[in-house]
Amino acid sequence: MNHRRKSTWNWFRFLLENYGLLLGFIFLCLFLSIASPYFLTLENILNVGRQISITAIVAFGMTFVITAAQIDLSVGSVIALTGVTAAAFLRQESNISILWIIAILIMGFLIGVMHGFFVAKQKIPAFLLTLATMGILRGIGFIYTQGRPIYIKSESFRALGRGFIGPIPTPIIIMLVIWIICYFILTQTKFGKYVSVVGENQEVARISGINVDKILIYVFILQGILAAIGGAIMASRLGTGSPQVGQGEELDVISAVILGGTNLYGGEGKMFGTLLGAMIIGTLLNGMTLLNISPYVQMVIRGLVILGAVWMNMYRYRVKR
């Protein structure tokens, strides 16, 4: 009898550990579709998808960063700075070219190289480094724009954030493509495996012949580029490049990753979990707005979700070890 109860509990735990997030998401959707008639409309679903796309894209990069036992707090500022840069390129209608894409991708790349260099070669803790660059990068955006948003005239650029491919908004397509690529990299390639090993134990990685510094630099480059893509979509959706956007974005991004089950101590990344985590956070925010919950209460609920995510994550990985 006792044995049987134990096995039921184990079965329950297995279910909760592996599908808990999915179940949570389904329950959230069920609840919201009952609570608000508007929730399950196609328009609203696509709207949620569009809203989470930027958070999710950046969170895919953050999954690599956290799996490597690092952190990047500067992603919100990278979104702002790259958005401003894109807008600066597109101030005139005539400047429609591939140039701006290359420019901001290079910018994200260089920011990643800088982060990687300081973390890998100068051994500066990523938390403090990116805390510093969070201010520096946003500050540069403010200096360049004098605090005023830059209006984007280019219609073709706006299609990136506002357009549709078939019936589906372009940002959702971009998000799914990037998700597939990141999932593939994390689970199927040497690089993905090395990121996990570096995150678990750098010494083990080093004596196995893995170039730890290179892996760390690549991880930050990937995060820089994905944050830059997020910045481009953001600027396109808003139609302006503003140094103000993306403030606090790092919180949503990190909570999506942690909620998704990536080990917050590094070593184990869950790319599907991150996608689900971003969806849960986006749905929750959408639901609270639909239900007319005051922004102040929303702040508290959001904080509670982060706390819950971290708690679950620690329980999961602490107990296992």
Partner: protein, 263 residues
């Protein structure tokens, strides 16, 4: 040319800040021998093996493999020269499975759907791990996570990792330190198996029983200097302990020629 050392080091010195970890140490390992490397804590054993395995580079001194001078820049370089190390803390990634650990750093790859994109060939790595584990008499599932294994199983996995690559020189750092009696016996058996398969083993151990039960020869370090070199069959535990604790007069000739080693 049987008596030419497979690995020879001359005048190795290494300083960490003001600490002289190694001073003018000579070292030679002959083909197909098990060499015990002994010494008290801080004697320089770990520093010496880390120089051989490419983790540190010496301040002064030369390294020869088969008589040829070499420079070992990093662990990957040591592996290329056929030197594998089984570390005391085992250097295994606990969140990866056995097969992934054995192939860590040297993964088998395959093409992804006939494109030039290279992906991990997990199935092949697992298939190649299986017979290896059977050879070591630990028939475990290659898909088991290392974090779930016992101390002895981990030790065997770490050893499997080194022999898989057909290393000519295998360095073992305290292989039995964390093991129970039965597991210790098994690991000693594995070490003797390695020798039978033609490898040379450097065995670092606090446990004199390990050295006396498997080694052919022992080099003793004390305070970063080499203070003794003994053939196991011609020495006693007392003598070795005395060397480890108090050293021996500097001008005594410690080198033993290979011919004297009885196999």
């Amino acid at each position: 040319m049987q008596n030419e050392p497979i690995l020879k080091m001359k005048g190795i010195s290494k300083k960490f800040g003001s600490v002289q970890a190694l001073y003018q140490v000579d070292f030679e390992l002959y083909p197909n021998e098990i060499l015990g490397l002994l010494g008290d804590n801080g004697a320089g054993k770990s520093t010496l093996i880390k120089i051989i395995s490419g983790v540190y580079s010496p301040d002064v001194g030369q390294i020869f493999i088969h008589g040829k001078p070499v420079t070992i820049f990093d662990p990957a370089g040591a592996k290329e020269l056929g030197i594998e190390t089984v570390y005391q803390d085992l250097a295994l990634a606990t969140k990866l499975n056995i097969a992934e650990n054995i192939f860590l750093g040297r993964e088998k790859m395959k093409n992804f759907l006939k494109t030039p994109i290279q992906i991990l060939d997990k199935r092949k790595m697992e298939a190649e791990t299986k017979p290896l584990l059977e050879r070591l008499r630990i028939p475990l599932d290659p898909k088991l996570k290392v974090g779930t294994l016992s101390g002895g199983q981990r030790q065997a996995t770490a050893i499997a990792k080194s022999i898989f690559w057909e290393a000519k020189i295998i360095i073992m750092d305290e292989p039995t330190a964390a093991l129970g009696v039965a597991e210790t016996t098994k690991v000693r058996q594995i070490i003797l198996d390695l020798k039978k398969h033609g490898a040379s083993v450097i065995l670092i151990s606090h446990n004199l029983e390990d050295v006396f039960s498997v080694a052919d020869r022992a080099i003793i370090l004390r305070g970063g200097m080499r203070v003794g070199d003994r053939i196991i069959k011609e020495t006693t535990r007392d003598e070795i302990v005395k060397l480890m604790v108090s050293g021996e007069k500097k001008n005594e000739i410690n080198n033993i020629q290979f011919d004297e080693v009885v196999h």
